[in-house]
Symmetry: C2
Subunit: 144 residues, 2 copies
Amino acid sequence: MNLGFQDYISIKLHKTDLNLTNEIKSRLEPYNLAPEQNLIMMLLWEEDGLTQNQLAQKLNKDKTNVARMASNLEKKGFITRSLSIEDRRSLKLYLTEEGKQLGEKVIPIAEEFNDVVCNGITNEELMELERILNKMNKNVDQPK
Amino acid sequence: MNLGFQDYISIKLHKTDLNLTNEIKSRLEPYNLAPEQNLIMMLLWEEDGLTQNQLAQKLNKDKTNVARMASNLEKKGFITRSLSIEDRRSLKLYLTEEGKQLGEKVIPIAEEFNDVVCNGITNEELMELERILNKMNKNVDQPK
DNA sequence: CCTATATAGTTGCTACACCAACTTTTTCCA
DNA sequence: TGGAAAAAGTTGGTGTAGCAACTATATAGG
């Protein structure tokens, strides 16, 4: 076969991902929010009071990462963590007033970023892209 | 607009990238090679004697990462680093015998991985995917 | 019931990823 | 030609990312 470095689709994907991550990182910097911390906040803005475990599943991440990111968000004052009453093993994350207000500034930034990324790309292309990404995910079978 | 968490294309891309990275990571583990270290090796297997700076450009990465990865590869015995004669600021990386032999085992792994990722995906789809990724890269304008 | 197992979270470890600040050469031009 | 600016690497700092091993709680079966 003999593929060259440029021929690996995973490498191209990886580069694009890094590119996008860098861009959103710089856009969020003024708000003292790192990209992955923002993902947690986005989920909390949609539904307050999620546990770390629920977040880990939605984000598809190792629970250790979520724990550390949540800890950082708590230090920054955007959320509080309290033991769940139903299950005292788990921590529920709640937005602080500051965290709620942050959403009003940051959500528009995220939507604007999405617009920029999708500029000149049709809906059909986006759906095609999703379809292909899903195929790849299934192919490597890390079950989400 | 009010996008939900699931609607951001960059998030989907990111998840797929992490998925693929995890898979190749576990495949390379038996060879004592981390995914990004492997990218450096792939470039050296194509062309021995590249400088760290050249690698950083090809990989689209910060020079600090390349420096540390190269240092790790040196510790593992896969490469040596020597000052360039033409420009004594730069370090050239050369494969050791062990590094060369590693390629004969790892390149097939990488190609097999690529096959798995692309399973059930047509060439047209791959080209479409690349086209869209390129658009996104241009849109965020990190000039590659 | 009460131990075996599972689950939520934390800590320690390695590997990216980028920035800022620094050293050492090189280059450029006034 | 000599000093400013640029370029290649390194170091230190923060923020992911996943694994292994650990604590604490919850659940299930004998």
